[in-house]
């Protein structure tokens, strides 16, 4: 019998793409749907998803949780848990469009939440850590419930199907954000499960990933020392946790995070100028277990920007492009050309070289 995400490890091949308007101007999800549709053949209909940033301006101070429920009981248990830890500012089922190509959808809910101040104070945790732990706990412990988006002023929309169908299903042409990422999935050994689709998110971090990492269990077992639980057993999940851990909890810059995940070879580091040489050496000495090997190209969405990163051997394709204030990242150039035929600049970043596009004025 086939098992689903979380029961066994599930690597997959995929298409990723992303766009950001660095001036902060909003765009609907439409262009992303068009772009990912071009790379139809990189998916197999077993998963697609999107992340939009700046899409909830009216609730921007609240954590927007998106949940899948498979059973009524799961929803009841989860909502009880949520109520014990958060003030629910607003909740509703997410509006979707019925499509013949998208089947077996679970119940999909959205909540805008604020941590209960007293509970938060008693936890002696930083607010974001408090929220992250709640998310991990629901996902690890509540059968049939899954939090698939938990950031502020951003949202993840995903499911089983081709990504362009998922986009229509979630009516993303109706959302407006300054940045979008999306993902088409080609999982290799499961039928695909809604929770297992990409992007994977924690707080405002979202990750779309194309590849199959060989370091998975080394990364996972290391991350689980710090309270993360890799319930999905997917690459995207562990990469998200690594970025969260290093960036949010350890305070590394995204540049530094990239030097851990896709560290330069020792031989390359030895040829670098100071201080890069000693800084990168130090990062590798501190976090050797967070080196990610095997093919991957990822787009990390975060509040205010996108990070593109490929493995250090560049075993997966990835191109970046710019046109005016807009910047594009994609597995294939064709997806970018589809939505912006005339570009100012297009290039393929070297393996292991991070590309960070941010809103003007923001420094990660």
């Amino acid at each position: 019998m086939l098992q689903r995400e979380g029961e066994i490890r599930n690597p997959s091949g995929c298409a990723v793409t992303g766009v950001i308007d660095r001036s902060g101007k909003k765009m609907t999800g439409e262009s992303m749907i068009e772009a990912i549709a071009v790379m139809h053949d990189r998916s197999n209909g077993l998963g697609g998803g999107f992340a939009g940033y700046g899409i909830y301006p009216h609730y921007k101070d609240f954590y927007a949780f998106h949940l899948f429920y498979e059973t009524q009981k799961a929803q009841e248990e989860t909502e009880a848990f949520i109520r014990r830890h958060f003030e629910i500012v607003y909740s509703s089922e997410i509006q979707t469009r019925k499509l013949p190509t998208v089947k077996n959808e679970p119940v999909i809910f959205r909540y805008f939440l604020a941590p209960l101040p007293r509970k938060l104070a008693n936890s002696h945790l930083d607010e974001r850590e408090y929220v992250a732990r709640c998310v991990i706990r629901i996902n690890a412990e509540t059968t049939g419930a899954y939090v698939f988006s938990s950031g502020k002023n951003m949202g993840i929309f995903k499911g089983v199907g081709y990504p362009e169908d998922i986009g229509r299903f979630y009516r993303l042409e109706e959302y407006e954000g300054y940045a979008w990422t999306c993902h088409g999935r080609y999982p290799t050994n499961t039928p695909g499960w809604w929770g297992g689709a990409h992007p994977f998110g924690l707080l405002d971090l979202s990750v779309v990933h194309n590849g199959e990492i060989s370091s998975y269990d080394a990364n996972r077992r290391y991350m689980e020392m710090f309270g993360y639980r890799c319930t999905l057993q997917t690459d995207t999940e562990v990469i998200t946790y690594i970025v969260d851990y290093l960036h949010r909890r350890k305070g590394l810059t995204l540049q530094e995070v990239s030097r851990v995940i896709a560290a330069s070879f020792w031989s390359t580091i030895a040829r670098k100028e100071e201080p890069a040489r000693s800084q990168e050496t130090l990062l590798r000495r501190m976090f050797p277990s967070l080196l990610v090997t095997g093919p991957f190209s990822i787009i990390v969405g975060f509040e205010g920007g996108l990070l593109a990163l490929g493995d250090r051997l560049k075993l997966r394709s990835m191109v970046c492009a710019e046109k005016g204030d807009k910047a594009y990242i994609s597995s294939e150039e064709s997806a970018i050309r589809k939505i912006e035929p005339s570009l100012d600049k297009i290039y393929a970043p070297a393996g292991g070289e991070p590309v960070i596009y941010e809103l003007y004025g923001r420094r990660s």
């Binding site: 066994i8 490890r9 599930n10 690597p11 997959s12 091949g13 290799t188 050994n189 590849g211 199959e212 990492i213 060989s214 370091s215 998975y216 269990d217 080394a218 990364n219 077992r221 290391y222 689980e224 020392m225 710090f226 350890k250 305070g251 590394l252 530094e256 560290a263 070879f265 020792w266 031989s267 201080p275 000693s278 800084q279 130090l282 990062l283 590798r284 000495r285 501190m286 976090f287 050797p288 277990s289 080196l291 990610v292 090997t293 095997g294 093919p295 250090r312 051997l313 075993l315």
Partner: protein
């Protein structure tokens, strides 16, 4: 000739091939071979033979072989010939049976019951001849605060670490138990390979201070040869609490092996047996260990990592947890198949647990407690090949100690007679005429060759897995699958059975 015990071996000489060159006679320290001038032929007294193969190896016409005798007692599945002979031997002498090298009994070898993964289709294998393949690593604590200087650059807040270019170190073998030339070979090989050798508890000969940056010095219960300069010269200091071949037992170097040089190096009298006690008499508890760790750190200005070596015993995981919290930087675990220069046979063959189980449990335990970064894990005790190294690292080790394999590279034939001090290969002896049989110019290259070969194999295996750095292999247990293992064994090893998918 013993009335009760017949020789275990027969020296078989093909007289058609023997040219009576007498090399066997000249090369046998046990005086097995003699030339009979009357007949012009060679003779052998096999009661003295330890089956070290020196004569076999050097015979230019391949006229010699040593075979197991087919002289048998009446068949008995319970009382093997060896068991019977051991009873005779003890009845003869009233003494404890002594043995050398590692446990030879047919216990399961779990390395051989684990299979490795390789990439196919979804994830490309990496060709180590075309792409960089990293076997470099650092040993020590990895817990560090993220602190930045005024320019925003990260400060190096790490405790001292050891840099290795391969995940293989030469394990502790003392000068005294092995020869000067063996030590020189290990030291030179460690230097060339960018790794470390370990003095064992025999101190460090003055001549080898120049290899200090590749030397791990041991502080053992006998405190032989320990002084300030010794500690300062080393790259790291290892506190030896136990040894896989003889957990719970101290050491005993016979006076015959204590030459003038050994005596000076160990700071003990010449010709008198050197006894290291079973416990450190200043360590009767984990908090005492912490004090010694702290003392050694203070003595060396916190510049050197401290290793604590223990034998793999039943409670190893909990002990390791205690060590990880003692301030030690590295834990070395020695499995029950590990070698020794001399151990009571019953201890060697019956005490301790396999390194595979100890490693799996210790790694898991330290992760469960969130303190895996407090220490690196070194494992030893019969690491026989690059595949063993890869499996150990995938189980969770940082690097491996090799002892027996290193000695084999030097020419050891595992006759397990080190305790007699008459090693015909010049390794486990202090007799000058035998010591000179090990030419370090050749021997160190053999060690370099061995480790280089293993390094290449590790690179190949890692490349096949799609991994291009050892860091991504460490603890990557999904790369392992068990075969012929029970559910309990799989659970303890933390791996799935062969055929179970990802």
């Amino acid at each position: 000739m013993d009335l009760y015990i017949r020789p275990d071996y027969e020296v078989v000489r093909n007289t058609d091939r023997c040219i009576a060159c007498r090399v066997c006679e000249r090369q046998c320290a046990n005086e097995v071979h003699t030339f009979d001038p009357e007949t012009g032929k060679m003779r052998a007294d096999e009661s003295k033979c330890v089956n070290c193969h020196r004569c076999v190896s050097l015979c230019p016409t391949h006229a010699l072989k040593i075979v197991k005798t087919d002289n048998t007692y009446r068949e008995n599945a319970n009382w093997s010939a060896q068991t019977i002979n051991e009873v005779y031997r003890q009845a003869n002498t009233g003494g404890v049976l002594l043995s050398s090298m590692g446990n030879p009994k047919p216990f399961p070898v779990f390395w051989d019951k684990m299979l490795l993964n390789a990439s196919q289709v979804t994830n490309p294998p990496i060709d180590p001849l075309r792409e960089p393949m990293e076997t470099q690593l650092w040993l020590g604590k990895r817990t560090a605060k993220i602190e930045r200087d005024e320019k925003g650059l990260l400060k190096d807040t790490l405790a001292p670490q050891l840099k290795l270019s391969v995940p293989i170190l030469f394990s502790a073998m003392s000068y005294g138990s092995i020869s000067y030339n063996a030590h020189e070979s290990l030291a030179r090989a460690a230097e060339e390979l960018g790794t470390y050798y370990n003095t064992g508890e025999g101190g460090l000969h003055r001549d080898f201070y120049r290899y200090g940056k590749n030397t791990i010095v041991q502080v053992a219960s006998g405190r032989f040869g320990v002084h300030k300069e010794y500690l300062e010269t080393a790259a790291a200091i290892e506190i030896k609490m136990g040894q896989g071949a003889k957990p719970g037992i101290g050491g005993h170097l016979p006076g015959a092996k204590i030459s003038a040089d050994v005596s000076e190096t160990r700071m003990i009298p010449q010709g008198v047996d050197a006894i290291s006690p079973a416990p450190h008499h200043d360590i009767y508890s984990i908090e005492d260990l912490k004090q010694l760790v702290d003392s050694l750190k203070e003595a060396t200005e916190h510049k050197k990592p401290i290793i604590v070596k223990i034998a793999a015993v039943h409670n190893a995981a909990a002990i390791a947890s205690g060590i990880a919290r003692s301030g030690a930087d590295i834990i070395a675990i020695d499995g029950f198949r590990g070698g020794t220069g001399a151990a009571p046979t019953r201890i060697r063959d019956n005490v301790g647990i396999p390194i595979e189980m100890a490693l799996a449990q210790i790694d898991a335990r330290l992760r469960d407690e969130g303190i895996r970064d407090e220490v690196s894990i070194l494992v030893g005790g019969s690491i026989r090949s690059s595949a063993d190294v890869v499996k150990a690292i995938a189980l969770g080790a940082d690097a491996c100690y090799i002892g027996t394999a290193a000695l084999l590279a030097l020419g050891c034939h595992l006759c397990r007679s080190c305790h007699t001090g008459k090693c015909n290969w010049g390794i486990a002896t202090q007799r000058p005429d035998l010591v000179k049989r090990l030419n370090p110019d050749l021997a160190y290259k053999r060690l370099v060759n061995l480790v280089s070969a293993w390094k290449h194999e590790i690179e190949e295996i890692m490349g096949g897995m799609g991994i291009n750095s050892l860091e991504a292999l460490r603890g990557n247990r999904l790369m392992l699958r068990g075969i012929g293992l029970t559910d309990t064994e799989l659970r303890l090893l933390g791996i799935r059975y062969a055929g179970e998918s990802l």
